[in-house]
Amino acid sequence: MGKPMRKVAIVGGATTKMKPRHIDKTYFELAFDAVKEALNHARLSKEDIESCVYGIYNDLFERQFMPDFFVHDYLGMGLKPGVRVTTGGATGGSAVREGFCQVASGLHDIVLVTGCEKCSDCFNYEVGKESPELLQVLRYAADMTWESPTGRTAATVFALPIVAHQELYGGQPTEEQMAKVSVKNHGNATKNPKAHSPMNLTVDQVLKSPMICYPFKFYDNCLYSEGAAALILASEEKAREITDKPVWVSGIGASLDYASMGNRYMDDPRAVAEFRSSIVAAKVAYEMAGIKNPRQEIDFAELHDAFTGTEIMAYEDCGFCPKGEGGRLVDEGIVWLGGELPVNPSGGLLGMGHPVGATGIMQTVEAMLQLREEAGERQVKNARRGLVQSIGAVGCAWTVAFVLERGE
């Protein structure tokens, strides 16, 4: 394993409000809003940007092949390098990683990482709703020959590992533990003005909400959001000129597991009951950051809670607790705001939203705000070091993990 040639800092960032639909904005207009606010946050102008990275998940959501070209145009970034990254739900995390590589390698000093996504322009005229048609878009992300014709959804390929995990670890996580994650994250979102789904729910309300894909009920699932996020990365030298509150990217790990769960099973039958890419990505990020005991050395985490059960699996995969004990961290209050290791103080994907290509960038912006003590009501006390996890694709094939630290 190599190591970065030089330190990389986050010097600014912003997100738009996350919403079910921004009817008054296109994807490139959403991107513009996030970039403008991020530049203001860093007190930079667009002329300071040397290179652009775009996280846009899905051409069909945008109704545009290569939508990055049009974002680059709208942002006025002509003649600068502009590259798009798309790795499923982990698109945002991969975009941040690409930006990191450009700065860490010495290729560029200041890089803009922008993510944006529409989703509710898709519309099913039969039932008069957006949701079945936006899920129809995702149908094309499943293996078109072997998986898509079974009617499986994104929820299905995250539910299957949860059921396998329950089978292997005595029913853990329980439906009640998963419901508590929903209560926690929707509740945290009430402290976040940019959140899509701020709600004060009860465990009972979550448990009684309509079944979507066993064991996930309605409130166990995040909603697709429309929105954008932008982040500005800089070399150490530039970062010190730009801000007195640099946030350092001290560890970064990425892993893409097999797309088919059968292929993972062939390695090890237990692999269908965990997210191997998350384990690898966290381990690599921790090694780079010199973290030996993540539970004690990390102050908060923004984990990819597309589904409540996946957040609990993530506690285990990120080394916060032994296998099969993730649910206890929710029961014991450890991961709640005010607990020993708050997870998703922003509200996460469940509460803040899931603007797919922008999500990993949104999570990183939120972690940056925590480390700059700019997170308002959801501020974690003495947040000095945070973990960001961005995952995506079939039962978490892709994971990108970052360790971020407050600058001195």
Binding site: N124, C213, G262, M266
Partner: protein, 183 residues
């Protein structure tokens, strides 16, 4: 804009025809736009669709679908070096980088994990609820995602034995068969 009734009807028919949606549905979702009063500065929604036709080759996996369609048989592929059996089949073993050979399977297997689907995409929304499962077919080292059809879907559990049931009309697609519990 406020279109007169006859013009509006033509708008619904013309645009509905373009995207394959009945005029009455178009009226339902576009009436406020077409016949109502929207301000000139309001966001404007436009009906559209994307459709691509294919004549797709299964390449090295073709025989699986021929055996399925013509012989009601399931085939896996066995690595000539390590002996591991893939189903879904692969022409090449990604462990050994060696060729594989075709191997007939019994069509029975075991559920490794499964769940019931109660909400899904436009293509399958009329079929809910249904079961999706990861199944290890006997004689293979791999998992196949498939559907299990049974009376009480809450009874589908990991560890359950299942067998393939072939549909009468087979087209050469994975949907030519499904699984049911072994008695």
């Amino acid at each position: 804009m406020k279109m007169e009734k006859s013009k509006a009807q033509k708008w619904y028919e013309r645009n509905g025809g373009r995207i394959g949606v009945a005029a009455e549905k178009m009226r339902k979702f576009f009436q406020p736009e077409v016949e109502g009063w929207k301000a000139i500065g309001d966001p404007l929604e436009y009906p559209d669709k994307i459709e691509i036709f294919y004549k797709y080759t299964y390449g090295g996996q073709s025989r699986f679908f021929r055996e399925l369609r013509e012989n009601k048989a399931l085939y896996g592929s066995k690595c000539l070096k390590c002996g591991k059996v893939f189903c879904p089949p692969r022409q090449d073993c990604n462990r050994c980088y060696e060729k594989t050979e075709w191997q007939r399977l019994s069509g029975e297997g075991i559920v490794v994990t499964c769940c019931s689907v109660h909400f899904t995409n436009s293509s399958f929304i009329k079929k809910i609820p249904f079961i999706c499962a990861l199944i290890r077919l006997d004689g293979t080292d791999f998992l196949m995602i498939s559907n299990i059809e049974m009376e009480d879907i809450s009874q589908a559990k990991p560890g359950m034995r299942v067998r393939a049931v072939f549909r009468e009309e087979r087209d050469g697609a994975i949907t030519d068969f499904y699984f049911e519990p072994c008695l």
